[in-house]
Symmetry: C2
Subunit: 457 residues, 2 copies
């Protein structure tokens, strides 16, 4: 047993500051109290919370408590922690904000005191100033997650110095069929930091790709060694590239952003670590890593129903140091044999609004062309005919999946147009675990990074 | 009357190649035949199309025909055009593809022949290889548009050398509450090109901002003069930045991409013309231009419910040469007086998950601060509480609109998280004509370009 397991699979939980009023922590409290996890609400002035007996102090609970979640106001956090230590809890998640990030001497000192308590006692602490942890396998969470919406079996885990990645971007991922394994938000990092969690996730069989969002790193050289030893791809976002951004970070998690050039050089140096520009890109690329085979070469074939989007993809392919695959003569002939005379059978294969039946044999020819290492499928179809005639796309999705499996080549689909079309695509592809995006540059970057990762392995 | 009016407000229309079978042009045919526009189907082998008498030749129609839409196979286009000229139509939209872009000698020659016909006769031609024109005011369209979905009264017009902007990105825009005035796709530009249409839209009172997508320009110096004379902002996208992208363009619209550096220098040189990187960005920024006052200075105030997104916005502000506004002492005090002690009342104003009531007085203080020229509002809220408690956001939206109007300052909102949250925001903001995006960099770029445009005016 790893001592950090308590954060992912607690046997019993106390919520300090549990309340029925509509404020931070409300949904989480009502969820945990009605879950399979044995949960005790702690509130100094209430006898009952959502029909469960409330305790005025964690020490009053006469059973063992594994994990405490603290959501009281910053002034009351230190006392709560002392009580937790006396009670003998193994893990504490402090969600309350208002410590070193305020710049207020008094609260900086309190944070330092909490740090000392963690060092001196057999307790591990996550936070403060975070939304804690979610384990999507056993459905434990210390934040607001609607588990019914998140696809099951996801292999992406998240370590983040910001709460927004613990719930809001999970919501977003869920609405794109992106599944997760674990999310960990670490806030001001009074004890547990990204290094602890990287080590934990490295050993986690349910995680195949890690996304990491950091504002500042305290243990620099250990951070580098840990990243170097990872056997899983790590996608890193680090803000504070600018001077005013660095100041903003200081008042977000109290972190020192550091010199961005040094971070950049560092991330570029370590194979398997990739720097990412925004959160959407981070999760789209992670999803491609989690669901697609790695491209064995740089040669990309494109099928598209829009010539302009095809040529935009070409610009991105060149910019990212990949190649547009030179198709075999037999591939070109195969495509020509099923296409109207205006279809461009060169790469990008611009099928335009040609019948859906042209797509499947073309896809087959491209997957089986030895000059092709990966495919980009651009799906840009007006909503109206798709909706009106309920055009069948399942056969194409099935082909994509089976050809990808058979040939060991990845395929990423970029869907453009109405949200209805995107949802139509999502709904039909649910069981095929396909990589779907709305941005060409995310798709091309994913293929580039996945190929670099292939070379590393 | 402008001779190009026939493309936007035709009195009578013939669709050459009209058909009931489920192929390109089907939805448009069925729409026009049942619309207020007098429409005649032309089909060589059918007596009736969707219950309307069909003509085997446009010349058989014994009424005047204003506009012909051609959707027959490329081999039959030349004959169709000759018939149209004999019939005396004023405008022709050739949607059929398969001309110079194929690289086939035979079809290159046919395209040149069509060009000569346009020069010699009193007829104007749009296309070939496009989806033609939509006028969102009178609901005339030569492509598939679901007018019920597109917000009314939009002031954005589109000129594009690609069909994808005539329907697919309109679908996308509609699902973001972005409205349009006119879309014009010009394809291989046998006669009418972007210059003709820029001149037309310059005079159009229903257009306040123009988006332009081009793959290559034939009349270079006239293009520059026209852009310089525009009194409306023009957002330009031009692909073919790379060698392989340029080759792809050649087989899309048969255009010569040209040297990208020259285009870049050109666009940077002309005030009021802005180069854009992708289609989403293009429409988001156009929508901000169409709905928001111009920022009179560079000082941006940020309200956010996520510290990390706030600091990412700061990085982008610095990168784009804008400033983070230094707030007045009284503004800071106003915000502090309504906030819990952990709220950062400096700019970015990180309200975190504080109560919704904190937001409104803070917004009021920021709008009224003379050091603030524009606002960025970052809305990152988990889906669950919003959905469960149906939290009221209309008062905030109303404040945004009225404060913006009163102070003449723009506000852009970036919404993060579940699609449900975005839709919730959209639904409630419909009547306020608010600028809503999902990407921080689009918002910051919009503010930067709008301020540059303010300086030009």
């Amino acid at each position: 047993m790893d001592e950090l397991d308590v954060f992912f699979n607690p046997k019993s939980i106390a919520i300090i500051g549990a309340s029925e009023s509509l404020k931070f922590g409300h949904s989480m409290t009502s969820y945990l109290l009605n879950s399979q996890f044995k949960t005790f609400p702690v509130n100094i002035s209430k006898e009952e919370i959502f029909g469960h007996k409330a305790y005025s102090n964690i020490k009053d609970i006469n059973e063992h408590v594994d994990l405490a979640i603290i959501i009281v106001r910053n002034d009351f956090v230190l006392d709560a922690i002392k009580n937790c230590v006396e009670k003998g809890v193994k893990g504490i998640i402090i969600e309350s904000a208002g410590f070193s990030e305020t710049g207020d001497e008094n609260f900086i000192e309190i944070q330092q005191e909490i740090e000392r308590i963690a060092q001196k006692n057999e307790v591990r602490i996550v936070g403060p100033n975070c939304v804690g942890i979610t384990n999507f396998r056993n459905k434990f969470t210390s934040t607001e997650i609607d588990f019914d919406e998140v696809p099951e079996g996801g292999k992406i885990s998240v370590i983040a110095q910001s709460g927004v990645l613990g719930n809001i971007f999970v919501d977003w991922g869920a609405s794109q069929n992106i599944g997760f394994s674990k999310t960990i938000t670490i806030g001001n990092k009074v004890d547990i930091d990204e290094i602890d969690m990287l080590e934990y996730l490295e050993k986690d069989p349910e995680t195949s790709v890690i996304t990491l969002y950091i504002e500042g790193v305290k243990r620099g050289s250990k951070f580098i060694t840990t990243l170097k030893n990872m056997s899983k791809p790590v996608l890193v976002m680090k803000n504070g590239r600018s001077q005013i951004g660095s100041i903003a970070i200081k008042s977000h998690t109290g972190s020192i952003a550091g010199n961005d050039k040094i971070y950049n050089a560092l991330f570029n140096q370590i194979p398997g670590v990739f720097r990412i520009d925004n959160f959407y890109e981070m999760f789209n690329i992670a999803h491609a890593f989690a669901t697609q085979p790695l491209p064995r070469g740089k040669n990309i074939a494109i099928t598209t129903s829009s010539g302009s989007l095809g040529s935009l993809a070409c610009d991105l392919i060149e910019k990212n140091g990949l190649n547009l695959a030179s198709l075999n003569e037999s591939t070109i002939n195969d495509i020509k044999s099923v296409s109207p005379n205006w279809v461009s059978a060169r790469n990008p294969v611009d099928l335009g609004p040609s019948s859906f039946s042209t797509f499947r044999p073309s896809l087959n020819a491209l997957f089986n062309d030895p000059n092709v290492d990966a495919l980009l499928n651009i799906f840009a179809v007006p909503k109206m005919p798709l909706e009106k005639y309920n055009l069948p796309i399942t056969p194409q999705l099935r082909d994509m999946k089976s050809l990808s499996k058979k040939t060991g080549k990845p395929i990423i689909t970029c869907v453009f147009g109405s949200r209805w079309v995107f949802d139509y695509f999502l709904k039909h592809s649910e069981k095929y675990n396909i990589s779907i995006m709305t941005q060409l540059n995310h798709a091309i970057k994913a293929l580039k990074m996945m190929h670099e990762y292939y070379l590393k392995k």
